[in-house]
């Protein structure tokens, strides 16, 4: 190809004065927007037709032609029928490549659908089967102390198991949060040979089967030291399970903290400890909270370590150190061992309570963990802007410029006001403007990577 030089055009006379950006005048007609994504009509019809044909084929096979039975078999047959008929229908209008592309896309979508429906079905099944127990308010406030297997659902409840779960998970969190996050900080901020060793060990710890963790606590603590099962032993077993999960998740979160924040902090002459406390941890706060909450959700649902360590009881036990203390998953396991239908319904009710608890924790984690490190919410950004304005006032107050006064208590700020209490009441609406006017240069009061000063 030869590239022809474009003939020099006669430029229109430029208007005097500085050049400005102009929106070019459109001469050509703008047609309607072309649709690049949607599926052609006949392909839509192919999907619908194949689905209908697959269902019909399976129903025909199961109902009339062959002695096959069962819901799952029916689903499998109709899915295979759908795929085959869809392939045939597509091949009428398209080539081999397109047909395989469509079949594979259909397979991917159906895998996602299977997963989604399995999750919804498992959770929904549990909740629906548990409804007869859940509708009785006594289910949440009574214990099984006075209720036998044959008693109606209006007697007895799982209050003791709920309390047991909360006590055990609290103890486990008290152990694992400081230990886990400090270890993660150690892995990220200090490093070295020993840190690599610790990382290897904590990776190995994730491989520990939960039942073996329970067996360890049972053999080491219960048979040797306390000689009785207790809530505390169960909490220890849960801690052994949760610790590597929390270390790993926090490690990943801390690794995401941008290195230039750390370097900026060191460049200002801070110690390593203050860098971690005022830069690294606040920056990754939402991620750390998410890691802890997801670890909690895993820990709450663990049955096998608790099975060996906590013991089964029908009474409320508030003391984690003596006597058995049951938790929700173990209560579910215990209820459904009974052949009585009422006990099984109670089991489903307890399982539904557990599921709702996990779901609530999960939603909280999603809400908090939606942001990456360093991203601030509106409130945090306002606080950061306020902090910057305050710093500016402090600098002005200790230098030549006369201070801005809008509050008597803030007029005489000293040079050490970093840790001062925040000003009471709202700052005046035009604060930003006044600050900008006073300063020799306009100062950006909003810096998304600046955290609010430590309180």
């Amino acid at each position: 190809m030869t590239i022809l030089e474009a003939p020099a055009e006669v430029r229109p006379e430029e208007p005097a004065g500085p050049r400005r950006t102009e929106i070019p005048h459109r001469k050509a007609e703008v047609g309607s927007r072309r649709d690049l994504r949607s599926v052609p009509l006949d392909d839509k019809f192919n999907v619908l037709g194949a689905a209908a044909a697959g269902l019909a084929l399976a129903t025909l096979l199961f109902g009339w032609l062959t002695p096959m039975t069962g819901f799952i078999g029916w689903l499998v047959i109709s899915f295979i029928g759908f795929l085959a008929i869809y392939a045939v229908l597509s091949s009428l209008r398209a080539d081999r490549l397109t047909v395989s592309e469509r079949i594979m896309t259909a397979l991917f979508y159906s895998a996602g659908a299977i997963l989604l429906s399995a999750l919804v079905f498992v959770l929904g099944f549990t909740v629906v089967r548990g409804v007869p127990a859940l509708v009785n308010p006594n289910f949440f406030v009574e214990t099984m102390k006075l209720a036998g297997p044959l008693d109606p659902l209006t007697m007895g409840g799982i209050w003791h198991a709920i309390v047991g779960t909360l006590i055990q998970i609290s103890i486990a969190l008290i152990i694992t949060i400081p230990l886990g996050i400090t270890t993660a900080v150690f892995l990220n901020e200090i490093g070295g040979k020993f840190a690599r060793f610790v990382r290897t060990i904590s990776d190995a710890m994730t491989a520990l089967p939960s039942i073996v963790a329970g067996l360890f606590i049972y053999a080491a603590i219960i048979t040797l030291v306390t000689h009785q099962r207790s809530g505390f032993a169960a909490a220890l077993a849960i801690s052994v399970m949760m610790l590597p999960i929390i270390i790993r998740a926090s490690d990943v979160v801390l690794r995401l903290v941008p290195n230039n924040l750390r370097e900026a902090s060191y460049a200002l002459g801070t110690t390593r400890w203050r860098t971690v406390w005022t830069v690294v941890l606040p920056t990754s706060r939402s991620g750390l909270v998410t890691a802890v909450i997801l670890g909690t959700a895993r820990g709450i649902g663990e049955t096998s370590p608790v099975l060996l360590t906590s013991g089964v009881t029908a009474e409320l036990n508030l003391n984690p150190f003596t006597g058995p203390m049951i938790s929700l998953p173990l209560q579910v396991f215990d209820f459904v061992k009974s052949p009585e239908p009422n006990m099984i319904v109670r089991g489903f009710g307890a399982a539904a309570t557990l599921v709702l608890l996990v779901l609530a924790l999960f939603l909280i984690a999603r809400v908090i963990g939606g942001r990456g490190p360093g991203q601030l919410s509106d409130r945090q950004r306002r606080a950061a802007a306020e902090g910057s304005a305050r710093d500016l006032r402090r600098i002005e107050a200790s230098h030549v410029l006369p201070p801005i006064t809008f509050d008597a208590r803030d007029a005489d700020v000293s040079g050490r006001s970093v840790r001062r209490r925040p000003p009471k009441g709202n700052p005046p609406a035009d604060l930003e403007d006044r600050v900008a006017q006073r300063a020799a240069e306009p100062v950006s009061t909003e810096n998304p990577t600046t955290e609010e000063s430590p309180s």
Binding site: A111, T126, V185, V198, I201
Partner: protein
């Protein structure tokens, strides 16, 4: 290294050759405390882990030395009479895990590709949340579902498979005399049903590892494949899957590790037996973790030691699998970055 107080030794101007400044730094008090606390936390973590390992192997030693190498191939489990081994339970564990993998592998591979390649932004983050939520569902809930719903609905499928594929020895269901059995009672509580339930529990682990590996496939090569006229599936087959191979293998092995250690759902479904059962559709199987969960209560000190030995074997197996998996995943990641 990065310490705030740097000792500066000033040299006198009279000296002909100025002394070298000492670059040694001395951490301030707060930093020393911080370092100590951090080292202590790491040390405690290691200590807990070592305590588990040392205690397990120490207590297991008693039973292992009593049983000798026969521990590996004895099928029955009666520590009281001195005849016990993990052949049957380990076989059951592996059977359940393999069945779970056979179901979970295609499911998670397709889901991971769906999430990373096909669906747009909002649906993508919703599906990621769904997978994460699935990982957080307690195993006792999956167990309930398996016992009270799946069991009854899977038995016809099992019957169908054993009727038409019974000529494959694994799928046959025979009684003691070798005759084929078809009544529903012979198909309950089988390794197949336990495997299906376990597969649902390992899919999330597998999917998220694979998804991360797929999303690292280089954009340039994807666009190259598309520009050469390949379809989306062609691009996935020639670019994404080869790049994500390490992720697929590593994720599958991590899932295998989880499947081997799964306890409660398996305990709820299976009916434990202590002999090797090749017929996966037939009633009766076992697993190491189920053995521990069912036998720990009535065990004597020696029985407990035997259970410890079984737990130790399980732990060593999952440890090897996990380390291999993370090595594979890490290697595949570094390979993708260098391109």
């Amino acid at each position: 290294m990065n310490d705030s107080v740097t000792e500066v030794i000033t040299s006198t101007p009279a000296a002909a050759e100025p002394k070298r400044r000492s670059l040694k730094s001395r951490p301030v008090q707060a930093d020393r405390v911080f370092r100590t606390v951090c080292y202590a936390a790491g040390g405690i973590t290691v200590a807990i882990m070592l305590a588990v390992g040392v205690f397990l192997s120490g207590r297991a030693g008693e039973a292992l030395s009593a049983a000798g190498p026969a521990f590996l191939w004895t099928q029955e489990w009666s520590p009281e009479t001195g005849s016990f081994g993990i052949a049957a339970v380990l076989f059951g564990t592996v059977t359940i895990a393999i069945i779970a993998l056979c179901i979970a592998l295609p499911l998670s591979l397709a889901t991971a590709l769906l999430i990373s390649e096909i669906v747009p932004g909002r649906v993508k983050s919703m599906l990621i949340s769904v997978v994460d939520l699935m990982a957080a569902v307690p195993s006792v809930v999956f167990g309930l579902w398996g016992v009270f719903f799946l069991q009854a609905n899977v038995i016809p499928v099992s019957q169908w498979i054993s009727t038409y594929f019974g000529w494959i020895p694994v799928f046959a269901v025979t009684d003691a005399s070798g005759a084929h059995v078809t009544e529903a009672g012979a198909f309950t509580s089988s390794a197949f049903i336990a495997g299906i339930v376990v597969s649902l529990m390992i899919v999330p682990t597998q999917t998220s590892v694979m998804r991360e590996a797929f999303s690292q496939a280089p954009l340039g090569e994807r666009e190259g494949a598309l520009a050469l006229g390949s379809t989306r599936w062609g691009m996935i087959r020639t670019v994404v899957l080869p790049f994500g191979k390490g992720g697929i293998i590593g994720g599958t092995m991590l899932a295998l590790g989880r499947a081997l250690g799964e306890t409660i759902a398996v305990v709820m479904i299976i009916s434990p037996i202590f002999s090797i059962n090749w017929q996966v559709l037939k009633t009766g199987t076992n697993s190491v973790s189920a053995l521990i969960a069912l036998r720990y209560g009535e065990a004597s000190q020696f029985g407990l030691s035997a259970l410890m030995a079984a737990g130790l074997v399980l732990f060593i197996i999952t440890l090897i699998i996990n380390f291999t998996a993370s090595t594979i995943v890490a290697r595949s990641r570094s390979g993708a970055e260098s391109n």
